[in-house]
Assembly symmetry: D2
Homo-oligomer: 269 residues x 4
């Protein structure tokens, strides 16, 4: 049940006990761990026009962080795997043009170097949370890391994965709850908001929530986004697309612009 | 993934499609499905003094519904099993004295008759959600039913359990999400708030949340209560006790009076 | 992790520690806990001809126990619910005609009396394993009980459910592993054969396996039946049907006569 | 539920439909997919003496494959992480001395090259089954791959992971079931023997079973090993240690020599 002693043994650096204040991670003008931060963008960068359209929309709506995958860990080797370096260049250009912080996923040493070069934040995805070698490697970089919870990771294992990164030298770790795998199949995953409240108690690291992957259903994203902040989440990661029905991946869980604007409005009430 | 057709086949009476408005269930002055309703009380009725103290406290804090178990389905046959009819009498007396709506769990035909006699709402617990004979029987009573989700029940099975009750004649069913069983063991169960948002879409029945059983940890109850309402939950069921450390069951997840008052304050902000 | 002390506290009567030998339960000429026993039959008794055909087939193939549901706990209230007393009469008649031990499920007090009257063994199904009132009630009968594991029950809870029955007066409990609910959806449930090995260590009660419900796929039944005996299971419960494609319930997991004969052959090799 | 069409789309190369016979993978004198093969050895190579003692013991008992971890993906960064290249050298030396096939885990590009250099079979562990970049990389090597199922991977995802390897050029993939993560906590994982039977139907690749990690309990290894072969498993991977109580990792699930010899005897009966 994770006693104080076990916490100290498993994740001393990530544990709340070793610090008297929560960590705030500053990326340009964005401060994770202070005000709730919204990250939005497409599952995958598809072309210049797409990412420019989305970045422009985010800029107009004061959303400060743009996400977009260029290295996509897809279940099937026959699915679209991302645009790789070209995608990162497009993402970076859009970020600069609209003054947005950018985040993209790295999946191995090669992509790690590229993401660190082109983006402001390096994402480690759920499928690689148990990939300890990648965690050690990202720990050598000086850019903040957005670490997603593995779909079968306990809260304790999630924090111990963060420990790997911090122990390797990079203390700027933003945690992201994105749902766990359970018997329930109406939703793609079961978003575990208890984990967010638990992490706020156990660790000084900021924790955000991804209700898009967490539910896998467009219609559930807005209520879950509101709940994510209510439970103590310090930010959100939302999949949006200018034309969800034409998205190359995960369109079924992406919000269109109009729905996303409503979500932003609802968060303010 | 539960198409419209499957919904119609599995739970036509509980489905949203068959009505143009959400159900409001009135019990005395309390209306489930309208304003968020807070239900609170001890896991088990232990003695007159205990339930009177708690009922008085709820009355002073404008909490309208008192819960208290008299028939306790305990994992071990050697654990305290509740005070049975005497417990219901104590609960009923406290409810009348402080003008509170009362709810208690029924576990078979015998207790069903008693709970229906002494209380305003009949609770069917998580362990009996798949007990279809009990569902059919409670469907013959004219008192509202508070149906808790089984710990391994899918959303679809949960709504189909409600269908059993409605089909048997009792349309006043209040659903209660209380966590599902997963690999995560930091929490007692994994509270599935996606299910609440899903049920609001799929069904016209009111749905409330029990973050006490949902998390099994006192410190997580308040943040989860806030998230439960934010996600669309229409009420809360919270375990409280005048002296949690001396509770005969589930003390570790019960709030003391002071913490519960803070929870009520936080819900208002 | 279930220490000796916890076992003693939770299920002293079901625990191996309190006896120096495994329990053998004798029903007519059948001895559970001695030689592997095969139970077979349809999910539901559908008509006299069906159950007679199946019973005759079992008799010819030296399968000593006939199963057949008359009270069916179905997910949907709109599904076939069984023939009730008439079904039990048909089952009993077939059992007598072909000298087979009979077993059928009871789901409440009423059906309990009927099953005890017409059959040799009373089955408590997975959906009612946490229905402690039913466990207490079946504990008052003098016929052996076949207790199936709840789909979300831990091994410890399964044995504690048996404890409820024994503590109420009936020590003849046969346990049946039938799969647990997990994220895997290729199979209907995940058959937990580790639980069988664990129960052989922890308890003196006989334990059998139901690979039909455990897998929900006809083609997996035979290999899982072999594994069930190899791991230490003391019997099998197999769904068979003279015309699986026309079965009123669970036909997709029922074996036809020819496949079942092959299964019996394979068990002998 | 994985129709033929979905199989063809997700894993055409791993699917049984595209070949008329099961794959046999030959490594020296060992043929996976023909006779049941036993792999045994310590969780981690700890020193020359340890691995020599174990290799000698295996040789004497006609066990043809020696396992031993040199790159250990441990939950905690503060746990023993393996001897790396030195460990592989020791493993390789012991393998040569006693004429044993060797297998060890690779966790990234660096260790991949080393394992491919020193060992006969490259293991990809459960934590890296979703690490698609590693799968693509191991697909470029010409040595057979032992791919373990991820602890939250469906059968379909497991076979699709194999597809990544085959599509990258390496068709010699041995699958290994090692348990999935469920709510049951008596065992470390829930060994899913249905998956073995399912894979025998769905794929032409050989599949073996690891009951040591699958159960996490020494006393359950032997019965589960027997069940693994009975269900159709084409081999076993067993953790053994000359002094389990002094093992640097996973000693609690390792068999001592005497117990392992009994296991081998039981497999023959």
């Amino acid at each position: 049940m994770l006693t104080k002693l076990e916490q100290q043994k498993l994740f001393p650096l990530a544990s709340k006990d070793n610090t008297n204040k929560d960590t705030v991670i500053r990326v340009k003008d964005v401060q994770f761990g202070k005000e709730p931060i919204v990250i939005a963008g497409p599952c995958a960068v598809e072309c210049e026009e797409q990412i420019d359209t989305i970045a422009s929309f985010l800029h107009k709506n004061s959303v400060p962080v743009l996400r977009g995958g260029a290295y996509k860990p897809r279940t099937s080797p026959y699915s679209f795997q991302g645009l790789h370096e070209k995608g990162l260049q497009m993402l970076s250009a859009a970020g600069k043009k609209y003054n947005l912080v950018t985040v993209s996923e790295a999946v191995d040493e090669h992509s790690l170097k590229q993401v660190a070069h082109y983006c402001d934040i390096i994402q480690i995805g759920a499928r690689n949370m148990f990939n300890y070698e990648l965690l050690k490697k990202v720990g050598k970089f000086s850019k903040p890391v957005l670490l997603k919870r593995g779909m079968s990771a306990t809260i304790s294992e999630f924090l111990t994965a963060a420990e790997y990164i911090i122990k390797s030298g990079n203390k700027d770790v933003i945690l992201c709850e994105r749902g766990i795998r359970t018997f329930e199949n109406y939703t793609r995953n079961t978003l575990d908001l208890s984990a967010v409240a638990a992490i706020r108690e156990l660790s000084h690291l900021p924790v955000i929530v991804d209700p898009s992957h967490g539910s896998g259903r467009r219609s559930l994203v807005t209520p879950l986004a509101k709940a994510s902040l209510a439970v103590g989440g310090q930010g959100l990661m939302i999949e949006i697309h200018n034309e969800p029905s034409k998205a190359l991946s995960d369109g079924f869980q992406s919000l269109d612009f109009s729905t996303f604007k409503n979500l932003l409005l609802e968060l303010k009430t």
